[in-house]
Amino acid sequence: MSAKGIVLAGAAMLLAVGSVAPAIAQGVQIDPALPRYAAVSGVSGNVKSIGSDTLNNLMTLWAEGFQALYPNVKIEIEGKGSSTAPPALVAGTAQFGPMSRPMNQREIDAFQQRFGYPPRAVRGAVDALAVYVHKDNPIQCMTLQQVDAVFSRTRRGGHSTEITTWGQLGLTGEWANRPISLYGRNSASGTYGYFKEVALFNGDYRDSVKEQPGSSTVVQGIASDRYAIGYSGVGYRTADVRAVPLATRPGERCFEANAENAYAGDYPLARFLYIYVNVNPNQPLDPLRRELIRFIYSRQGQEATVKDGYFPVTQAIAEEDLRAMRIIN
């Protein structure tokens, strides 16, 4: 079901129209070059997915869409954090390992040691990791260095002082002397790892960060705490929180966490969301996994991405990944 009445973006690469600003938010447009998925015969069996909880809902939506086409396929989804994906792939307990960060070298090595070839990644969606504040918070812009000084005790970003109150971020009035209350993810999460790497410049988190078990829990925490700040996927935004526009360096422009800025690379915390698969380069992929990957890269699959609040990938990315997995030539 495609949204009617949305103007198609002309350029093939830039698909996003409209902003996700709360006042005049619009739906995100999908690359018109992405093919509609058509069912083929002989697909059935079980698949299990173990991994990221950021991708938990998206995997579920894909599974629901896929099962509507192939009623005999059973897809089970477990999402407790990206770090649970590589061991599950290595042990063979899961066929799909969704991760919100790329695998690190150690994880790839462990996989390669067992199978003799590296795992392949499906880049199924684009996420803009958002820094959320309470909806009443008037803050207009933050630089990555400020984010680092708020969340990190090592301050690798180079900000000169620790930031512990909202006044230090330029807020006045009742906000000036209020301490900043920090919310974040637990260490099994890929979001935790990605934020540490990019926003904290590989520094260490402060001990006062309240670690939450899920992406949605971070948002709920911020919604009930007026002086809070935290990070979570852009898909988890609710009416109770606001995403702060971010700038890469002091003095630069701040960019909203929306699709346009994520594609253009302007938003500093934009990332791909990956689904890792065990693809033996010497054998054709079994029909079930092949079709599920093709479904993810189809129009319906990317509509599910939009439905879950993330940004869809383009046909160019889809072709690149499908070719790497020898699904198309």
């Binding site: 079901m1 949204a3 009617k4 009445g5 709360p22 938010a25 619009q26 739906g27 069912a39 015969s41 002989g42 697909v43 059935s44 069996g45 079980n46 299990k48 909880d53 938990n56 809902n57 998206l58 579920t60 939506l61 629901e64 099962q67 509507a68 192939y70 009623p71 005999n72 059973k74 897809i75 089970e76 989804i77 477990e78 999402g79 407790k80 042990a91 063979g92 307990t93 066929q95 909806k135 009443d136 008037p138 009035g173 009742e174 078990p213 899920g214 992406s215 949605s216 829990t217 948002v219 709920q220 919604a223 898909g235 988890y236 609710t238 009416a239 109770d240 439905k307 879950d308 609040g309």
Partner: protein, 592 residues
């Protein structure tokens, strides 16, 4: 000074009141000449007050929690009115008001306001009110909830023709039904209650359901047979790694069957896609409050109603139909909508299996410990260990279940019985069987302790009587001891069941998943699939509450699901208690 009166009670006292009175007067006599308070303490009155107070507090807290869950769970599905809000800047928004709060608008917000509302806020100590509206229409605006401050609102109305449309995808739509279009012909809908619209919607829903039935049933069966053939071929190639005539025969057989099944599949798939085309051609045009239009298949609408124009009976109808969907349907949209049928079934099946495993296991252990084992140091150690097991954190059982049952036991079963499916595990991963066994381990101390107590309570005279009549020890246990201990054993099982059904943490490791719409029982051989992962109401609550995209929309579902879980456990407990009472009655008359 304070000899407890109970300690001095003669054990054979028949009249508890009389002995208590005697004890009190004795204590008074002993405490004569001391302060008065001692007498009061001796009588145990402050203690009674403390105990009574604690009980009252406990009951109050439990009732409060239950009331909260009940109230929030029961009102969730009640259809609420829709308000159409016109803002000062001309925007029109429509939605269900969810809740209101007061807040302190920031300086820059105040500075941008007109003088009239600003002075209003200043008179009110700088506080303003705002309302959260469930606006829906996520596909059009990328939002389903929106806060609207009072000072932005110019006018609130409740137009009678605003509809709440529940859809299969993208959540609810708030707006109007403009037209129905099929085959390019657009017929405007004037009256939202027109029988024509309702009839066509029912037809479209029936068509959608028959598409699903066709895909699930007939196409599903073909796919299943095809998969079986593929596995058979794989088994043959594993059995004959060198090739040979057997493998060739298997290959040939597979090719024949595959061709036949694929042809069958093609016929069915053509039928299904024809129906799908009809489904997608039968459209309805919706328009939101601001006039933006959206076209979608009529069959993808679950239900629609004019929220501001409902009689009480119609409201009740919507309410009940929503409950029906919740109880009987599968979840949609990553578990935030639709029903929880697979989760109800999973919870029930797991608890039942747990009882089937834990009862014999616990009862046999207790029987041996109490009746056969020589009471000594070893038995004491075993008993202490059993009691300590009850105190081990449940997540530890989960880790054990995953490591021992799923990976070691299940992995070996896969190697021996399902080599053709590897590397995809069959039993070598979490599933219903392993989850039940893990929970059985977790709850077995409860059953052992309760059974031991029940066995100990059977009077010695009865055993001796039976033995004196010439019955063997086993005959005595079977015919005299066990039946009389049965109510006590049942109590243990009930406790174990209640604990098991409410446990979530270990289950997350051994087989409960976010989405597993396939029930563990279906029409394909061997009909009961204990290796399948399953959904569980407790985990569903966790998932919807903490993992769903829109936590605002998930909140009411959390309450409804909690209500359901409590009701399910309550129903299972009540039936077990009824069973126990029947057993008790049976032996009441036969006491010596």
């Amino acid at each position: 000074m304070n000899t407890a009166p109970a300690a001095s009670l003669p054990e054979s006292a028949r009249d508890a009141n009389a002995s208590l009175r005697r004890a009190i007067s004795e204590t008074r006599r002993r405490n004569a000449g001391k302060v008065r308070l001692a007498g009061l303490q001796g009588a145990g009155e402050p203690w009674q007050w403390c105990l009574g107070g604690a009980l009252a507090l406990g009951i109050l807290m439990v009732l409060g929690l239950l009331l909260l869950v009940f109230w929030n769970g029961l009102v969730t599905f009640w259809p609420r009115p829709i308000e159409q809000v016109r803002l000062h800047d001309g925007t029109v928004v429509a939605g269900e008001p969810v809740r209101s709060q007061t807040f302190r608008p920031g300086q820059e917000v105040l500075a941008a306001l007109d003088p009239a509302p600003r002075s209003g806020i200043e008179r009110n100590d700088g506080m303003a009110a705002r309302t959260l509206y469930r606006t829906g229409n996520y596909d059009l605006y990328g939002d389903d909830f929106r806060w609207l401050p009072d000072y932005e609102i110019a006018e609130v109305s409740r137009p009678w023709d605003l509809m709440l449309v529940e859809r299969m995808e993208w959540g609810v739509f708030v707006g109007r039904i403009v037209a129905i279009s099929s085959g390019g012909q657009r017929a405007p809908v004037g009256d939202v209650r027109s029988p024509d619209l309702i009839k066509r919607h029912e037809e479209a829903r029936r068509r959608w359901q028959s598409i699903r039935a066709l895909e699930r049933g007939e196409i599903g069966a073909v796919n299943h047979r095809l998969e079986q053939e593929r596995l058979r071929l794989r088994r043959a190639s594993l059995a004959n790694p060198e090739g040979g005539t057997a493998l060739d025969a298997a290959r040939q057989r597979f090719a024949e069957r595959e061709a036949a099944l694929k042809a069958q599949h093609q016929v069915l798939a053509d039928r299904a896609s024809g129906m799908r085309r009809a489904h997608e051609g039968d459209l309805v045009v919706l328009a939101d409050a601001a006039g933006r239009e959206k076209e979608m298949p009529l069959g993808a609408i679950v239900r629609f109603y004019p929220a501001n124009d409902l009689s009480l009976a119609e409201r009740l109808g919507v309410y009940l139909s929503r409950w029906g969907e919740f109880l009987l349907d599968e979840p949609r949209e990553a578990n935030t909508e639709g029903g929880v049928m697979p989760a109800i079934f999973g919870t029930f099946a797991m608890t039942l299996l747990l009882v089937l495993v834990v009862t014999p296991f616990g009862v046999i252990t207790a029987l041996y410990l109490r009746e056969y084992a020589r009471q000594g140091r070893l038995v004491s150690i075993v008993r202490i260990s059993v009691n300590n097991l009850a105190g081990v954190p449940s997540i530890v059982y989960g880790v054990f279940g995953l490591g021992f049952f799923a990976y070691i036991l299940g992995g070996s079963i896969d190697q021996i019985f399902f080599p053709e499916r590897l590397p995809n595990p069959t039993y070598g991963t979490g599933g219903l069987l392993w989850a039940s066994l893990t929970l059985a381990l977790l709850t077995v101390p409860v059953v052992i302790v309760a059974t031991e107590e029940a066995l100990a309570a059977v009077p010695r005279s009865m055993r001796e009587g039976s033995l004196a009549c010439g019955a063997s020890k086993w005959q005595t246990i079977r015919n005299i001891v066990l039946p009389r201990a049965m109510p006590g054993i049942m109590t243990g099982v009930i406790l174990a069941m209640a604990r098991g059904a409410g446990e979530v943490a270990p289950l997350m490791l051994v087989g409960v998943v976010k989405l597993a719409p396939e029930l563990p029982i279906d029409g394909y051989f061997p009909f009961v699939h204990l290796e399948r992962s399953f959904m569980h109401l407790g985990f569903h609550i966790f998932d919807v509450g903490f993992q769903s995209r829109n936590s605002e929309a998930g909140k009411p579902m959390v309450f409804v699901t909690t209500l359901l879980l409590i009701a399910l456990i309550f129903a299972m407990n009540v039936s077990a208690i009824l069973l126990r009472n029947r057993l008790k009655r049976r032996f009441q008359g036969s006491q010596f």
